[in-house]
Symmetry: C2
Subunit: 227 residues, 2 copies
Amino acid sequence: MFAACLVKRLSLYRRVLGALASPEGWAGGLGSSDGEYVFSHDLASLAGVSAAQVRRDVMTIGYTGSPRRGYDVAGLIGRIGEFLDAPGGQSAVLVGLGHLGKAVLAYVGGRRTGLRIVAGFDVDPAKCGRVIHGCRCHGMEALAEVIAEHGANVGLVAVPGAEAQNVSIQLVRAGVRGLLNFAPVRLQVPEYVFVEDVDITVSLESVAFFARHDAVRRQAMIKEAVR
Amino acid sequence: MFAACLVKRLSLYRRVLGALASPEGWAGGLGSSDGEYVFSHDLASLAGVSAAQVRRDVMTIGYTGSPRRGYDVAGLIGRIGEFLDAPGGQSAVLVGLGHLGKAVLAYVGGRRTGLRIVAGFDVDPAKCGRVIHGCRCHGMEALAEVIAEHGANVGLVAVPGAEAQNVSIQLVRAGVRGLLNFAPVRLQVPEYVFVEDVDITVSLESVAFFARHDAVRRQAMIKEAVR
DNA sequence: GACGAGTTGTGAATGATATCACAGTGTGAA
DNA sequence: TTCACACTGTGATATCATTCACAACTCGTC
């Protein structure tokens, strides 16, 4: 079983590398790197991890760089794609087209990867039939049918907490095997379903805590420096 | 230094406990627990972690339960609050009032905790002066002033990727010490600033990966069972 | 062609996190 | 009042993730 954090870092590397390889070549102040090749420490600083971590991750997916030149950007992007993406592409559906759902569509819609959000669902009849951010919206009654039609196996849950559990059951019943859950609720699903929670409240409280706590550590460091 | 994951779990426990303690007593099928007391394994299953993890966490924050009855719900909520929350409350500001910003306000606005989102900012003049989800919106030029006025030390960055770095610099300059970043960019900030990334693209790709990978593991398990 | 500077690749060491397993204990039942 | 059970608290252990540190290598330079 591959570690979850490895997969997330690879996804991040790919995005960073994509920016490097793009036509304008990422004007940002990257020390070395001409856009063709990248060193582990450059990729590391762009991704906010250590250089050793980058090298270890690259090794894990079986890619190889060249001493003195670094990693071939296009080649590494390709290898990450082979590792992360489904060979024939993968389809996802989004349930809940409130502010959050729309924001997610706007974010992901632009990205060009092996993964597409092929349909949206909402209880609000006013939204049905409309196309939002390039994604067709259906009523909840069409859920199973549309999922089957596209062979989607990923579901995004962007509904209020009270409905999230119910929605997730419907998704799983329709064949979904991975859930990205934005609702502030822990979903109870069969163990063969993978759930990733994006819990804004929890993240926010965590930031608030460390905003204070780092201040404490700063003072401790100052004290130590004085001594 | 307290581990980041401990803080997140505590935040989660608190929310789950709050649901347990609420008037209607969480109709959901919790085996034991009458709403007054809760066992480590019940809290664990509600939070999606192991019972040993719960006991360890409770120990870490110095709370104590009673054998045979479990933890006092109200007492534990209180202790978690002492640990997580700033004594006099804490203020945060939100930059970017697009779909995502509004969604965040809707989520967090309802919650009653030591943390308040006291102001929003956006470049769009049409939004300035309005009150969205109970939060007053200002133009970017008022950033430093409003932050100073409220003594806010937490900032939420919900702007497009291209502007995120610039916004984060302004926030830090105005005194913010913790950032919750929704933009698909790694922020470069001084090391005394705590950054938490909520990276929807990365999370989604991770879910997509494990939706497939767990399927593989399932097949492997079936093979093994047949043998 | 030989050299040296600056990379990568990776075994080993460290550190962080979660689990195990069981002694200790308060509680309700008899 | 006594007892036994089911739970907590926690040292020890296992697992997972990251970093260290250095040999091996490659490329530009002399």
